[in-house]
Assembly symmetry: C3
Homo-oligomer: 368 residues x 3
Amino acid sequence: MTALREHIEAVALVDHHAHGCWLAPGDRSRFENALNEANTEPLAAFDSGFDTQLGFAVRARCGPLLGISRHTDADTYWQHRSGIPEPELAERFLQAAQVCDWLVDTGFAAGAAGLDEMAALGAGRVHEVVRLESVAEEAAAAPGDYAAAFDDLLWRRTRNAVATKSILAYRGGFAGDLSDPALSEVAEAAARWRDRGGTRLDDRVLLRYGLHRALRVGKPLQFHVGLGDRDCDLHAANPSHLLDFLRVSGDVPVMLLHCYPYEREAGYLAQAFNNVYLDGGLAVNHLGARSANFIGRLLELAPFRKILYSSDGFGPAELHYLGARLWRAGLAATLARFVDADEWSQADAVRVVDLIAHTNARRVYELG
Amino acid sequence: MTALREHIEAVALVDHHAHGCWLAPGDRSRFENALNEANTEPLAAFDSGFDTQLGFAVRARCGPLLGISRHTDADTYWQHRSGIPEPELAERFLQAAQVCDWLVDTGFAAGAAGLDEMAALGAGRVHEVVRLESVAEEAAAAPGDYAAAFDDLLWRRTRNAVATKSILAYRGGFAGDLSDPALSEVAEAAARWRDRGGTRLDDRVLLRYGLHRALRVGKPLQFHVGLGDRDCDLHAANPSHLLDFLRVSGDVPVMLLHCYPYEREAGYLAQAFNNVYLDGGLAVNHLGARSANFIGRLLELAPFRKILYSSDGFGPAELHYLGARLWRAGLAATLARFVDADEWSQADAVRVVDLIAHTNARRVYELG
Amino acid sequence: MTALREHIEAVALVDHHAHGCWLAPGDRSRFENALNEANTEPLAAFDSGFDTQLGFAVRARCGPLLGISRHTDADTYWQHRSGIPEPELAERFLQAAQVCDWLVDTGFAAGAAGLDEMAALGAGRVHEVVRLESVAEEAAAAPGDYAAAFDDLLWRRTRNAVATKSILAYRGGFAGDLSDPALSEVAEAAARWRDRGGTRLDDRVLLRYGLHRALRVGKPLQFHVGLGDRDCDLHAANPSHLLDFLRVSGDVPVMLLHCYPYEREAGYLAQAFNNVYLDGGLAVNHLGARSANFIGRLLELAPFRKILYSSDGFGPAELHYLGARLWRAGLAATLARFVDADEWSQADAVRVVDLIAHTNARRVYELG
């Protein structure tokens, strides 16, 4: 088993979905709120972002990189963290993640590092993921026909990108019609949206249009699935509602991100469709000491060539590092159980580690 | 680890949702049917309430308090149990639960001890939880304007109570509109309901009215969530359908009870809203030897200051005791795993035990 | 614990839901596609049916019956397998399953052994399960009144059968009205369907008619539940949508098959209704090294007299064997944990093994 654990510790990861980390200084409330994904309001006075699985995992796993021991109390953690400039924290945590390639969603970037800044941290190659809803907002602000503007922008922005991304989960969810709308419908919807200001796209017709144009681009299309903030109706972010869309999605890889608590439904879809993949980013961090159980559930119906790694790190650089740490620990615990029970051989386990860590991602995103 | 286990064994519990236990004698069929939560009919001739996880747990955990050894067969268990008067069983089991405060829902009390009788058992302080649907039935029977009668009754009944409770899950479920109805709608709905007899409230308008009046009372509002008897459409008792209601619920604590099999959705809501809490009462008893796994799932997304303990005991006093026993055992097993893996420190584990056992409940219900 | 494990290894199983195994030769793509349940298209060029939990379990568990060691690589597995005639593989695997009674669904039998051929393998008694949708297609092809033809065919075909089976999950799912339609509606729907060719029944009225006629036959009615191929909308195969149907199903045993990922909902229904049962067939095979966790979940709310065993084997005879092997291993692991923790006695565990292995099935299907 030592060989398996050593392999998992050292394996290079493709983090196929992350955001920028902070580079600018911030106060403790910024940090504590960043430890809560779902709440869109400031934490209540009686609460602390540290008193969560994620908070405990940050103290346990990230403390040592700040020079303090595991489980040091929250005040001390914050004291040490706030004594180090954000850019130095970013370098330290991202380099420690042992990630060879970061696929960065640039669509939600308020206060976070951009692509060039991420690359400058020297922690691996950086690739762009283009958010469809951002392209739509740019198209709304452009003169002339919306559809033409969207198509043109999408083509230009994705030329050097490795994937597109949809946050439909936050804009009404997956349930309901997701067919390709007629151009006349798109024109009408765009006119209405432009009249309303053309921000925060939630028009269903235009969301559908974006998805189907992304299919034509042909690069992998990422979907936010499951847990997120409370703007999202959790039950509408169940990926089984994507079935009709998947039935017409052809060969374009569709990447189901995060998935909790619908990881079993996502695994089913990854088995049912040659072009569907899944990961457990975001959830792994928030589950902390419970993340190994979750990683086990990712290894159920999904074929092993359809599972990827991501952190979904955003903001505190701890998250970019912690995702990798918890993934290595949880995968090791899960696979060791299979091997100990003689259900899997160790050689097979090592092979599956490589598939999830980087091989599948390199194939799907053509990372070379 | 011994210190952690000893702490969990001895910690005082606030049981923030229970019902009265039996004081009057009954036959074996009453007992066996009480071991099945979901079935509203007598058990089939081929079946036995003892051949369930709950039945096995009763024999294993409660037998010793009757003077018989763990796992003694069902017939012997019943023989010993039926030889002891119910009031003595009630005293014995409730005192053994080591509960300092019982929050008792008086809305479903057929054949069970009332508040004074519960208090007289000498097993801890007793506080009242007022069921909204019972208040509605009283208001339907009162003369004059329904809304005024409801408001007046609710104010008087909750003055000395610590919380309100809704069984909307049993009266149509959470899906659909849960906004505050206009008073004219309330008057019309009340007239229709009074014409039908004014019993077993299932009018949606009046249910919604009750919820929003409860928000004005401002005391914690408990919701039955998830498993219950088959009058409830299980899928409609998924708490994610409460999202729109929670979005307007302000600061009033909303307590999600039981939650199985939607404990992950409930945990998400507890993270998403500063005023949402959860427990695993009822489910812990019915899961018996599987309850430790369930308790682990309660410790996922929910912040640790948002998790409470309850038994949901009703009827056999075994249930009031067993809830506590299984909770102590399951929490110990769960936390020991975190500590053994060095994901949590033992000190943190002890602190979280106290939060769930009583600290959170005392804060939310202002128990002093 | 050795006694418990030995008992589970040797206990005779009733496989209460299986299909025929292959007898005719086939190529590797037939085999690999048979290792994927959900995908209705050929596997992608980059994929392999062997790189799944099921594929790993086949290599680990079935290899030794081909004379090769556990975990031998996929190419070698295929090489040895393809060197043995299918009928010999069928005999070898089915006999090794230690199944005393096979209940065979004859409704989906393309390329698979029929009842007589299954019986001729000498691996246990064979009983028929009649698929309602097949009866409907026969009735559509018969002259005269559809309802009369259906009733007559159903009566004749079920006279010697032990159960009926519905694949409503694949024909629109459980959500929506499932009441008994009026005969006039049936006649109209049948006329429309016959005009369309009378194949692949998906008319809701006729599906409902079939269910209610099956209730009158009174033999156990099996439902495909949860995971299947992608023709099925997974969320519509959630058994909680059967609640209204179950409320009128009387005493006729309703058998919920497979259930993943809705096994918790299925367990709730098995507790809520005296006539509802569940198993975990199909899912156990596809979960491989993760199947023990799943088997644990089957042992939650469902009373122990309501749980059965099945493989749902179809095609490769490995599946008929593997279902039994994984069930024995997973049940042993689950129950050993209960007994080790002193939550169950070993004698109780042995008794529950017998209930699930054969006692419940013999009672429900009156196998004698």
